[in-house]
């Protein structure tokens, strides 16, 4: 197994982990963090798969460089919208998740 393939496999694991977090985390801040882990996994897959042969491929590296900057900007926008929502509604959870969001931050679903 080449180092590139190892990176790609780790990236696949991070992607699945992030997806689980995105669904299971009741609070928006957790969802945003999970989404970033999911995105990092996708970047790792892109870069890792392209250098399975041993030589780094500049095309996916440039695409991932672009992607990282977009991810930072999207995260900042998501945080701003979350803060706005928290100011307006008093809680950083989506309305349809209100029923299952635990009142205390370390509730049974907070894992």
């Amino acid at each position: 197994m080449s180092l590139g393939l190892f990176y790609a496999l780790v990236g696949g694991g991070l992607f699945a982990l992030g997806l689980a977090g995105l669904i299971l985390q009741p609070r928006l801040l957790g969802k945003i963090l999970a989404f970033n882990i999911l995105g990092s996994g996708a970047f790792l897959v892109l870069v890792g798969l392209a250098q399975r042969g041993g030589t780094p491929d500049p095309v996916p590296q440039a695409m991932v460089l672009t992607g990282i900057v977009v991810a930072v900007a999207a995260t900042a926008l998501a945080l701003a919208l979350t803060r706005r929502l928290a100011d307006l509604s008093g809680a950083a959870v989506l309305p349809e998740d209100d029923a299952r969001a635990p009142a205390n931050p370390r509730g049974p679903d907070g894992d």
Partner: protein, 223 residues
Amino acid sequence: MNRWASVAVALLCAVLALALAWAMWDLPPAPVALPAQVAGSLAISGVEHPVTAVLLNFRGYDTLLEVGVLLIALLGMLAAGATPERMTALPPDPVLEGLARLLAPLMVLVAGYLLWAGAFRPGGAFQAAAVLAAAGVLLRLAGPVTAWTRPGRVLRLALAAGFVVFLAVAVLGLAQGAMLEYPRAWAGSLILAVEAGLTVSLGLTLAGLFLAGPEIPRGGPRT
């Protein structure tokens, strides 16, 4: 979500991870050798580093759109509006402020070097912009720079400059036959001009993602 549903989601995601791993393990090598193609065309790209050549020449379209996305993200943040500050008051710290004032010019120098180095070694507009943005965040946390509640005209122009310069260069290429197609002789200079504009605008935009917000209240009178 009840416990069984959570367990089911976790199991499905584990299955997805295994399926992804299996697919990647069995994936045949790429049928097109992109590194060889990039290396073959590097001589006509205007720069000597493959990643910069891909970013600003071969796949310039992605980069152009990305800069647009960044600008839209910052506009969205500003449009979301200022919210009440919850941060606890920071006491004024003359040492931190002095250090930030000392470091900021050095960071601008490093950004300039990274911009210049991008033509032939790892570096370029994005790395330079990240250093500039870090300087902005540092100055904000240490005190000398205040938050942007309402960016002024100069700041707004500087934010848009990178995208506008890039777009102008891209449209200039239409005279050559295709958008974003640089004239051979001018490719190096045009890429440097675009990168310089991008460094300023991206640095300000990335810093703005942190700076656009309410003022951090200070614990006492500023010295």
